[in-house]
Subunit: 272 residues, 2 copies
């Protein structure tokens, strides 16, 4: 390979972020507003005319993604050509001997997790419980290693399950599994998670029938949309005295009049 002088190539924000409508709670005041969120798309990588992987990715620099992926995964050596058509990346490259049988998912979340259920639950919680759930996300594994995620599950206002794991998705699966194996009704539960909530994470909670998901971190545009479609209440960006509700605010007491099932109505805005 011929060596050229280094070439600066910076992050590209084209099509990577979008505005998401939400209800922002700050110091007792609720306002309908917008927050910026990442967008996520399912990208298909094709190597020498065979689809080899679907990745959940920010939809920019897909040529680079395709070229890098086949080499970094040990599937190919030299790159001959990369063509991008929509969200499909066609890579022509010298294949290395090895398995191409696996479908690999990126960290954005599994794409095979199909949203199967609309959440059915009349659960309504007090705003205070949001902060209680977040404060319960304390993991000794994280404190000792600096490399773990944590999920918690609350039922009837009480902590019923906590799990730490190197995989963010695994912590969610494990607390859901605990509830399933012990007859705890997931339709009465609140799930608290570390980290971001892309659509794959919301899909997991919705398929298990959990009505409320709470996270310190942000969601993606598709995560918020999935939550709205699934009938799930998504609360994110929880801080000391503030949070954002991205979908179905009627399950948080005091945010909408009468705590009635969501009917497309707007929130009570003390400022409006």
């Amino acid at each position: 390979m011929v060596y050229h002088s280094p070439m600066i190539w910076n992050e590209d924000l084209t099509n990577t972020l979008d505005a998401v409508r939400c209800w922002s709670y700050e110091g007792g005041v609720v306002r309908e507003t917008e927050k910026e969120a990442c967008t996520e798309e399912v990208v298909v990588i094709v190597l020498n005319n065979r689809p080899i992987s679907t990745l959940v990715a920010s939809p920019v620099q897909l040529r680079e993604l395709g070229a890098g992926f086949v080499v970094s995964e040990g599937l190919a050596g030299e790159i001959q050509d990369v063509q991008v058509q929509g969200l499909t990346v066609q890579v022509t490259a010298t294949e290395r001997s090895g398995s191409l049988s696996s479908i690999i998912e990126s960290c954005g979340g599994p794409t095979s997790g199909t949203l199967m259920s609309h959440v059915k639950s009349s659960l309504v919680i007090e705003q205070e419980l949001i902060f209680t759930v977040i404060s319960a996300i304390v993991s000794e594994l994280w404190e000792r290693t600096g490399g773990a995620h944590c999920s918690v599950l609350f039922s009837g206002g009480e902590l019923v399950a906590k799990s730490s794991d190197i995989g963010r998705h695994n912590t969610v699966d494990k607390v859901i599994g605990h509830a399933l194996l012990n007859g705890i009704d997931l339709s009465g539960c609140v799930l608290g998670c570390t980290g971001r909530q892309p659509s794959g994470m919301i899909t997991k909670a919705a398929n298990a029938g959990i009505p409320i998901v709470v996270s310190k971190a942000a969601t993606t545009r598709q995560g918020a949309e999935t939550a709205q479609r699934a009938g799930l209440t998504l609360v994110g960006r929880v801080k000391q005295d503030s949070f954002c509700v991205y979908s179905h605010p009627e399950r948080i007491a005091g945010l909408v009049p009468g705590n009635s099932p969501y009917s497309g109505g707007s929130l009570t805005d003390p400022q409006g």
Copy 2:
């Protein structure tokens, strides 16, 4: 489903963490020491006698993982039985109509990425570059959305590529892809990443021929082992004036005598 009273179930640290040997640099002093790191294992989920997924996970609570996974991914409804044999979880459950064709990977990193290459590089860097690389990991996408990862690539001491993406692995693939498409010699590069370095991330860098990986965050036991085996220098837990080198410290100037290729020798210890 019968509703029982809530049952507390806490995180389980059994077999989830281990001690990893490393070279700790603090304020100019290097010491050979040990740090705790997560352990990661490849767990196979079997649903009604068909293997459906391999997950990179902390090897605890595998019954709960299996039960939760098949429901949260929308593959099954009621759980009948879960049996764990080693790292294989056999779930018997009522399947939901839907695809079982995909193999889903967790956030711990893809397992199909086979380590194909031993890194060949005579690159040696000054300690100062470690802090420069970390300080270059600044992402506007993260600042605006709170939900993105970032990777940077340095060549000849200069920033040559930076990528932000919702997927941690994608940012690595994209900067590697940029180098491949622009003839930048990866054997002379340093990769800087946000977030943890499990074996899947190290495998990507090694397969691309990158000799040095730097991260603010921690590695797993298997990540450190993969880096050692691949001939790759892994630097983690970088802070204001400290870092840990988990493998092949000979590429960091001043840490080992003569900067010679690693021969199993110990580090120069100014305290010893």
